[in-house]
């Protein structure tokens, strides 16, 4: 039984990380307001939402399977309060932090029409904090962290997210940024 739970936990953790990276990348794409080839802005928004919700489901599975696994010695309180665990408390705590942030981000994302743009944006932008925490959690506590393929996947993810984040910060990131800049420079007497 423990064996099964253990492998469910590892697999779901791994899939969560991939989905999380996908969510982040599509979020950055969507925010630019650009259509990418066949991916319309609408499709990007749908993908972003679906990836993130799937991600939440896999993280739940990840957490529940660890709870059921006696070897991990995880308590219910560890899901909600970081750094209390017995097994690698720091790295597991990072998992708790990113889990809580993810729930907050996803919930406020779904409820954004009722919360107002400022609350939504404020919480949503912590995604950029949450992602590296989740990656660190995976590297620090993951059983598979030492394997070559896990490292390759992690390195590629970090590379993609870094590239996207840098693109996010460039002046021409937003669609129409050139015409907008031109217009803004219109009156400068």
């Amino acid at each position: 039984m423990d064996e099964l739970m253990w492998s469910v936990a590892r697999t779901s953790g791994m899939i969560s990380l991939l989905l999380l990276t996908g969510t982040l990348l599509v979020g950055i794409m969507a925010r630019s307001g650009r259509a990418f080839g066949g991916l319309s802005r609408y499709t990007q928004s749908l993908l972003h939402r679906s990836f993130s919700l799937l991600c939440v489901i896999f993280v739940m599975l990840h957490v529940l399977s660890l709870l059921a696994d006696s070897y991990a010695k995880m308590q219910i309180i560890d899901i909600f309060v970081p750094f209390l665990g017995d097994y690698r408390p720091f790295w597991q705590g990072l998992g708790t932090v990113s889990f809580l942030l993810m729930i907050a981000i996803a919930l406020t994302g779904l409820l954004r029409r009722h919360l107002g743009q400022r609350v939504f944006r404020g919480i949503h932008l912590t995604a950029y904090l949450m992602w590296p925490i989740a990656v660190a959690h995976g590297l620090g506590t993951g059983t598979d962290a030492g394997t070559l393929w896990y490292r390759i996947v992690t390195v590629i993810s970090i590379g993609l997210v870094l590239a996207a984040a840098i693109w996010r910060l460039t002046a021409n990131y937003l669609d129409h940024s050139a015409t907008r800049r031109l217009a803004r420079e219109g009156v400068k007497l």
Partner: protein, 77 residues
Amino acid sequence: MSAELEIDWTRCQGRGLCIELLAADLTSDPWGYPSARRADGHQSGTVILAEDQREAANEAVKMCPLSALKLRTSAHQ
């Protein structure tokens, strides 16, 4: 009865999602903001939509990243 899309211009940041979904009624201005195709399309803050666009409009309202849209049913016209 016609459908009217109410745009909160103070919120909209021209991400263009509604323009995509309502391509028959909306086009992009040079800065990426939705602009009515019909000459008389803009009526005091709202855009009059074609009759069969209600469903697409509902989707745009739901998915607008800035929550800047509302759908109204109006009697005029």
